[in-house]
């Protein structure tokens, strides 16, 4: 078996994930680890290349796979390195919603009239938070590439459910449709949860492999190599395969498709200093958005772009934890026991149907906002300073507190595997006792039993009176009174990366002086400038980047 084939082989999840350190409560160190894990370097004439390809792609998620296929379609040889043990990135856990318009065949079938100009007009709307901060040059490219991206998906075997959804976000007409979930349960990461994005990435993977793209799994990019000192031209990368360093020459281009920065505490605080370590990243422990690509490019002088989009306070950059009592309770993602990730995730969480059934308290045992709200005002209240003199940024853990009646109304089974009693779910016979039981890596001080008891008694008085005079929760319905009592991790969880590296309209990465870094491209969530949620921008700019890179002179 050739080395290439060994690298290419999909495997089982590692005994301890490559991110296993994260599951030990050491998230505060993530930023530092990521910062030192990826760096640019200067190539020397003596660099020994272990592999060579025209186009080298960092990451085999949605953007990376689209780039791999496109590069092959343009006759370029391709190596994609993926640090995980399997392809897919966050795309394999997504709902598979594609936001593509322009008058594509799906829209036509459903009688929806659309044009690229209308796509552009919608996504530069000044009156839509989700659109107003984007770079209009990139939006124009996206709009003009919508039809081609749709056709690309069809040509590469991606199947869609015959239904249009929307309008969504800044779009004024329906443009969203959903891919068909992958049909092989053993090749899903979150089986049984309609993670239809699996159908997108598995189909693209199959097409990419069939067309001759090489995918090196368990290869983590650690360096982008430039031609010489201070050169604005990159010529390859170094990736670590276990403890082995592998140098891969990129004769035409390197495409960063490493998937964003949301999981890198230090990096994300560039945009919002409140986002300290207690805020977990959606799709962990399957995938960690460590900003590896951004950091490696910034070592070369690359610039960030359209950073206002990250804090635009619209969409899903920060989300309410819907599956409470586990560490990663992102709204649409549950790792069932049959998931290969369950051993690391440890619990499915308790899915909240009605927020009237819980109250939220901060680490001091105090209510702080109306629980049924899910707006950015709620998130701001979660992240508010609660008087901890040793922690001025971030708001600390948020706990959902409920009682036996609340659990019964929600039909929750408060036992494992639904909850994670190792720091993320607690039960007790009394409210005061419950406070004393809460131990968690992010709970920096013991919650006062008296404080929590006072909070609950006050809230119960609001329920009795029928009005919440503290936070205006509409019609507070249920007392927290019947034992046993529960506290479930409900700290907001982070999702979208909405800013990243500056590129031009060819997806070429630009440096802080506005000059192109020759041979370096970026697509997907690591790319800044077009802050649209989801898969479509990743696919589109993956194609754009690969097409341009493949056309370069070797």
């Amino acid at each position: 078996m050739s080395k290439q084939n060994r690298n290419d082989k999909r495997g089982a999840p590692p005994a301890l994930s490559r991110r296993s350190f994260l599951s030990k409560g050491a998230a505060a160190g993530v930023g530092a680890a990521a910062l030192t894990g990826a760096a640019a370097t200067d190539a020397k004439a003596e660099t020994k290349w272990d592999h060579s390809a025209d186009v080298v792609i960092i990451g085999a998620g949605v953007a990376g796979l689209a780039a791999a296929i496109t590069a092959r379609d343009h006759s370029a040889s391709v190596i994609a390195v993926e640090e995980n043990y399997d392809i897919g990135g966050r795309g394999i856990l997504s709902g598979g919603r594609l936001h593509l318009g322009g008058g594509n065949a799906m829209q036509q079938k459903h009688g929806i009239k659309d044009t690229p100009d209308q796509v552009y007009a919608d996504w530069v709307r000044f009156d839509a938070n989700s659109a107003r901060y984007s770079d209009r040059d990139l939006v124009r490219v996206f709009a003009d590439e919508n039809l081609a991206t749709y056709d690309f998906l069809v040509q590469n075997g991606v199947e869609f459910i015959d239904r249009m959804i929307g309008p969504e976000a800044a779009s004024t007409i329906p443009r969203t449709f959903v891919t068909v979930e992958w049909h092989v349960p053993s090749e899903l990461i979150a089986p049984g949860r309609n993670r239809n994005g699996s159908g997108l990435v598995r189909r693209l993977e199959a097409s990419a492999r069939k067309k001759g793209a090489q995918i090196f799994l368990r290869h983590k990019m650690t360096k982008i190599i430039r031609e010489q000192d201070n050169s604005r031209r990159v010529i390859g990368i170094t990736a670590m395969n276990g403890s082995n360093a592998v140098n891969i020459q990129a004769k035409k281009g390197i495409i960063i498709a490493s998937g964003g920065h949301t999981g890198n505490v230090n990096f994300r605080r560039t945009f919002d200093p409140r986002l300290t370590e207690e805020y977990q990243q959606a799709c962990e422990p399957w995938v960690h958005q460590g900003a590896d690509g951004e950091l490696a490019a910034m070592e070369l002088g690359a610039s960030l772009w359209a950073t206002a989009a990250q804090t635009r306070e619209a969409g899903a950059a920060i989300t309410k934890t819907r599956h409470i009592g586990c560490r990663w309770g992102y709204s649409s993602l549950v790792y069932q026991p049959e998931s290969p990730m369950f051993r690391l995730a440890r619990a499915t969480g308790l899915t909240v149907e009605d927020w009237q059934n819980v109250i939220f308290v901060n680490q001091n045992g105090k209510r702080f906002w109306n629980e049924v709200d899910g707006s950015y005002n709620f998130f701001a209240a979660c992240m508010a300073w609660h008087g901890d003199k040793s922690k001025l940024n971030g708001g600390g853990p948020i706990w959902a507190v409920f009682d036996a009646d609340g659990a019964a109304r929600e039909k929750w089974n408060t036992k494992s595997p639904n909850v994670d009693p190792d720091g993320y779910f607690f039960s007790a016979d009394t409210i005061a006792e419950l406070a004393g039981k809460i131990k968690n890596p992010y709970q920096k001080q013991q919650m006062s039993g008296a404080a929590l008891q006072e909070t609950v008694a006050r809230y119960n008085s609001f329920v009795a009176a029928g009005a919440d005079t503290d936070f205006k929760k509409p019609t507070p319905l249920y007392k927290i009174e019947k034992p046993p009592f529960y506290a479930a991790w409900s700290t907001p969880i982070l999702h979208d990366t909405l800013t990243g590296l500056r590129t031009n309209t060819n997806s070429e990465v630009m440096d802080i002086r506005g000059e192109v870094i020759q041979g370096l491209y970026c697509a997907g969530e690591s790319q800044g400038g077009f802050a649209q949620h989801g898969l479509a921008r990743c696919l589109t700019f993956g194609r754009v980047a690969a097409r341009h890179a493949a056309g370069r002179t070797a």
């Binding site: 149907e353 016979d429 009394t430 409210i431 008891q453 119960n460 009795a464």
Partner: protein, 305 residues
């Protein structure tokens, strides 16, 4: 006589806690060392407890810990942990000792109060349930709990029953009967538990609860909730008018008995929105409320071909 003599030292590996519950066992991290680096791990220790009883034998376990039994009384408790002398054919290890004092404190207790009806009719009897819990999971059956009204007068007393409240680990409980005040509005009571007479010292505790006091219901309000477009009845909608409440049945109807007055009517069901209404109750009344379905696209919904 041993050919060699080694000095020894004993010290805490980690600070002892300032306070320990009376009657509990305290695990102390201990380091026993020999100047010549001999392994003393499995050699016996002597522990002198505060009550001046005969010293007991102890040892350092595999985790480097020694167990101290804290007497079941409150206050400073002094211990001495002594080693040696210990002698073999070749080596004599000199004695050493560590003295420490820990403060023994009472165990905590806590309360829960539930099944509080609300609103309650002024001057009428009602019942609540009260549960007490010892942090040491001590048996509390037979102990008294007392309920005090807002003027700090005893409103009721109860004795904790033999059985635990279902689903709890050690919550002893009782049901007590109270009489509602004659004044309308939110009324607050305090439950107190002295936790006296237990083998281990315990601190008492208190907890407050409240209920709305209202006039007797006179009239029947019938609320039907329908979906605005389809006019289909909506079940399980929560109806609130101040302290009064009801839930719609499959026909979308909720009936609420209430006294005369003017109320703000709120309806609540996840994924539905309806404006608040102000209504005046002067007799039996039937109203219909239209709610708008505002579906939250559930990403976990099954997608079908």
């Amino acid at each position: 006589m041993a050919a060699h003599t080694h000095s020894t030292a004993i010290e805490l590996s980690e600070p002892a806690p300032a306070e320990v519950a009376a009657g509990s066992e305290l695990m102390l991290k201990i380091k026993l060392t020999c100047a010549a680096d001999c392994d003393l791990h499995n050699l016996p220790l002597t522990i002198t407890s505060p009550d001046d009883t005969a010293p007991t034998a102890g040892h350092i376990n595999e985790s480097g810990e020694v167990t101290l039994s804290i007497p079941p009384k409150v206050g400073p408790q002094s211990f001495t942990i002594a080693f040696g002398p210990h002698e073999t054919d070749d080596i004599r290890h000199e004695p050493c000792a560590l003295s420490l004092t820990v403060n023994s404190i009472p165990h905590g207790t806590s309360l829960a109060v539930w099944d509080i009806p609300s609103p309650i009719v002024k001057g009428e009897r009602f019942t609540i349930k009260v549960g007490a819990k010892s942090a040491a999971n001590a048996e509390l059956k037979g102990l008294e709990i007392a309920v005090f009204d807002s003027s700090d007068k005893v409103a009721a007393r109860g004795r904790l029953r033999d059985s635990l409240w279902p689903g709890t680990s050690a919550l002893y409980w009782d049901e007590v009967e109270l009489i509602a005040p004659t004044e309308e509005g939110l009324s607050t009571w305090s439950v107190r538990f002295a936790a006296e007479g237990l083998a281990l010292p315990h601190d008492g505790t208190a907890a407050e609860f409240s209920a709305m006091v209202a006039r007797p219901p006179e009239h029947r309000l019938t609320v039907k909730v329908v979906e605005q477009k389809s006019k289909a009845p909506i079940t399980d909608v929560q109806i609130r008018l101040g302290p009064f409440r009801g839930t719609t049945d499959p026909a979308g109807i909720a009936e609420v008995m209430m006294p005369k007055g003017t109320y703000d009517l709120h309806v609540w069901k996840t994924a539905y929105e309806a404006p608040d209404h102000s209504i005046e109750i002067r007799g039996d009344l039937s109203i219909e409320v239209e709610a708008v379905f505002v579906p939250e696209e559930d990403p976990d919904n099954a997608w079908t071909m």
